[in-house]
């Protein structure tokens, strides 16, 4: 069920990425598919996150003037890195997720830009400006979307927390009175 919900969220994110720029230019700086890919990676399933990253990236590349596969590459890499971080570090908290999405966005843009330069292409957007705007817009939008998704996936979040923190073994306390009485 969780897979279906994330898949639907990813489809909606790609559709928003396709359409919103036509409505209002600054929406171009929000990377909706990246937000969902990072969210999927934060759930802990790295294989699924990798697939989501690749599919979302290629879908975005299909309607972009950039290289086909550049977004797919960067988002797959991000999905892998974030899922590896999640395996090692506890980030099941909104405040901890903010630096994760910001870092993911920064790295995604750097990899995307770097891949284009490596292939001899030059993106038309100004490097520093586009990077800064994308970082700010995606981090803000990501934080809001995570709040919404957390309320939507509330059951899974609680389940996830239970899995992350296994129940502490409760040691039986010795009764001091009984200890005293043994004497």
């Amino acid at each position: 069920m969780e897979q279906v919900k994330i898949t639907i969220a990813l489809i909606v994110a790609v559709l928003l990425q396709w359409t919103l720029r036509n409505v209002f230019e600054p929406f171009a700086f929000i990377d909706f598919p990246l937000i969902i890919v990072v969210y999927a990676a934060l759930q802990g399933s790295s294989i699924r996150a990798l697939f989501y990253g690749t599919l979302a990236g290629i879908a975005v590349d299909a309607l972009s003037g950039g290289l086909l596969g550049a977004n797919g590459f960067s988002k797959t890499l991000i999905a892998f890195i974030v899922s590896e971080i999640v395996r090692r570090v506890y980030v099941d908290n909104l405040l901890l997720r903010i630096p994760v999405i910001a870092g993911a966005c920064l790295l995604d843009d750097l990899v995307y830009y770097g891949m284009h330069r490596l292939m001899g292409q030059e993106p038309t957007g100004e490097f520093v400006t586009t990077l800064a705007y994308t970082l700010i817009a995606t981090t803000i939008a990501g934080t809001i979307i995570y709040l919404l998704l957390d309320s939507f996936f509330a059951e899974n979040v609680r389940k996830g927390k239970r899995e992350v923190f296994t129940q502490r073994r409760q040691t039986r306390r010795r009764n001091p009175i009984r200890l005293g009485s043994r004497r």
Binding site: A28, D61, S64, G65, N71, Y112, P123, E126, Y133
Partner: protein, 281 residues
Amino acid sequence: MLLLLLGNFALMAFDAREANSQQRVIRVWTQTSADFVQSPVTFVSSAVTNYFSSISSMRTAQSENDALKQRIQELEVEVQNNKSSTFENERLKSLLQLKEEIPYKFLPAQIIGRDTSAWFDTSIINRGSLDGVKLNMPIVTNGGLVGRVTAVSPLTAQISLITKDKSGLGAVIGALGASNALGVVSGSGKKEILEMGYVPGSIEVKVGESVYTTGQDGIYPAGLKLGEVAEVRVGSASEALKIFIQPSAKLSSMQEVAVLLYEPPPRPEFDKSLPNAAKKK
């Protein structure tokens, strides 16, 4: 005694009439005293009646209000439709004007999407290879050249704007054939500004002069208007001028464009044989 006095007084009052109006005084007094009761009662009763009548009228007003709101919405939609029809009419008129200006066949198209990446600024139009659109075909508006087709699918095509295109196109300042100010125009990376290079420093270029394509690039036909000179940076006489051009097409707000069904004439093949080798006949 008191009763008697009161009885007599009542009789007198009953009998007495006012001198002017000839009304019985008792009636006048009764009316006056009744006023002290009637007025507050009327006030309260009218208030209560008004309250209930307003409630009953509120019901009708509510339905009337709903009907009026619906009517307003309908009218707003109608006004909006009229406005968009007017805009569309103007755009189509401008395309008709374009048909008169440009001798080539063209295909009207609508911009249906923008680039999904913030790093690029391409647009998607609703015409594809099924409509006869081919790679590198020029895109124009009534203002002038907009860009070229960079990818084609059966139903849609991707266009790249001249302001973002790094590959240069041949251009001339002033009328083609009458001016020597030939150069190469490419995107400056900035919105709505083109850069022109390779114009010799010895040539005088004025701000406001029109820039046209020369057709030497093998993509765009000659004579398409690019824009007007916005700034000229002059170096030494041996150094090429750096010219900034304001595109004449409104690139940021365009909705309707036209694909110029222009294919450049095939270039003659270069003679690759060695100078001393026998020529094939």
